[in-house]
């Protein structure tokens, strides 16, 4: 097979169907950007889950009375709560933090806002039991269980916050995948159309090729390559789009969303790109092949 011949045929074909080619490339690009965004979200969720699964804790805030009297958790109800927690399935570690320690931590957290620290009295803050659980423990059950026990004022479940975040991210991911699929169908139809148009435009050439005994590969490879080249260009533009998107959201690295979703950068996009390129090549080649089989007689 003569590569130069096939290559020049591909170029001619793409030039002749210029507008269709552009439409095909753009649709592919947008479809892949959306798909890529979905894949990045999947990565982000995985990363966050890994980082936070071991760090999230359930905080049990004690009532005012208990916080005021008991500074070492040696009396009821704090001591009872602590031992009950330690005997609960899935609990790894229980730490007591008295009112004074909580206030010290509060001052540290809000060091940048001295006015707030000034206005807050130590007496306003509850002593807290910090409960760390083994990964996979349903913290919402734990929270439910201890909500109404004596000495408990309220319960803060960080797991609940992370779960809410995940569910929102997962919705965005599903929507992105949905869009990607719809766009992929549009891209598929465009590829199929362009291949048919291209074959129709060159029916004389193809007719002659068949008559003089060119093999199926020789007659059809140019059309197939046209589809694949467009798919490739579309994928490259799509990856560019994804880089721009990531740049716009994360400001080029270093920042993060709410301190939870760690920063996404060029590296993450590059990790996803081979998937996008692969999907694009396989889909365009397959569509081209099926179209030629169905619509173009050999």
């Amino acid at each position: 097979m003569r590569a130069s011949f096939v290559f020049s045929e591909v170029l001619t074909g793409l030039r002749r169907n210029f507008t269709m080619t552009i439409a095909m490339i753009l649709t592919t690009a947008i479809s892949l950007t959306t798909l890529g965004a979905g894949l990045l979200i999947v990565r982000a969720v995985g990363e966050v889950q890994e980082n936070f699964a071991s760090q999230t804790e359930v905080q049990i805030f004690l009532t005012n009375d208990s916080s005021a009297i008991d500074t070492s958790c040696s009396q009821s109800p704090c001591a009872d709560l602590k031992s009950q927690l330690q005997n609960t399935y899935g609990v790894r570690e229980v730490n007591y933090e008295n009112r004074h320690q909580v206030f010290e931590r509060f001052k540290k957290i809000f060091a940048a806002q001295p006015q707030l620290v000034e206005l807050t009295r130590e007496q306003a803050l509850p002593a807290t039991l910090h409960v760390k659980t083994n990964p996979g423990t349903p913290t919402e059950v734990l929270a439910q269980q201890f909500k109404n026990r004596p000495g408990v004022k309220s319960i803060g479940d960080q797991g609940q916050f992370v779960r809410d975040l995940f569910s929102k991210l997962n919705t965005i991911r599903d929507v992105a995948f949905g869009f990607a699929v719809v766009l992929a169908v549009a891209a598929l139809l465009l590829i199929s159309n362009t291949v048919q148009l291209s074959a129709f435009n060159r029916r004389t050439e193809v007719g002659i090729m068949r008559l003089v005994g060119a093999t199926r590969w020789y007659t059809q490879l140019p059309f197939l390559l046209e589809a694949v080249v467009s798919g490739l260009v579309g994928a490259v533009i799509g990856i560019g789009g994804l880089l721009a998107l990531v740049g716009a959201v994360f400001g080029g690295g270093g920042s993060s969303i709410g301190g939870i979703v760690t920063s996404m950068g060029i590296g993450d996009v590059l990790l996803v790109s081979p998937i996008l390129l692969g999907v694009s090549i396989v889909i365009s080649a397959l569509t081209g092949y099926v179209t030629l089989r169905l619509y173009v007689r050999h």
Binding site: E205, I208, R210, V212, G213, A214, T215, Y218
Partner: protein, 229 residues
Amino acid sequence: MIRLEGVSKVYKTSTRPALHNVSVDMDKGEFIFLIGPSGSGKSTFLRLLLREEVPSKGRVYVSNFDVARMARRRVPRLRQSIGCVFQDFRLLTNKTVAENVAFALEVIGKPRNTIRKVVPEVLELVGLDGKSDRMPHELSGGEQQRVAIARAFVNRPLVLLADEPTGNLDPDTSQDIMLLLERINRTGTTVLMATHDHGIVDSMRRRVVELSLGEVIRDDARGVYGVGR
């Protein structure tokens, strides 16, 4: 070289067979006219030889190929041993004379050296040396048909099929084309030409196979177009 044994062809869209029980034997190096009115089955005959169609019944042989039964992937080999010329030339309008001829070799993967050598040779054979860089629209009808013949012959086929090659040409030009086909025939290539042209058939006095309503009604070794015409 070409043999049809009891060949019938019925198209799905028609109840009448396009060819009915046709048996013909054509030897290597023969020059045969295939004649008959429109709809008599000439085109179907040629299409069967090229495996553009498969017979409903019977066997078709071209050279060593069992055309009707061969695997599809071997069809290109068959077609590489058959050259084709048509009434409408079928040249690529965006390619020069030489490129049109070279195209037939490029698409079957011939090396560039070979192409560079044989294209000028065949253009000289058909009398087009010096016009290799012209575009088809710059040529007369006769010259365009010569390009088509050069393209059909450049791969030295065993058989040359010509479907009304003079149908679009004036009598003088037609004569020239016939001389060219005769010259190609003298190289040992079997030439099978479907035609309506009385004058040419009568003047050449070659073998004539006449089809009517899909059946062979006449096979004369040195025939004329119409008996008593």
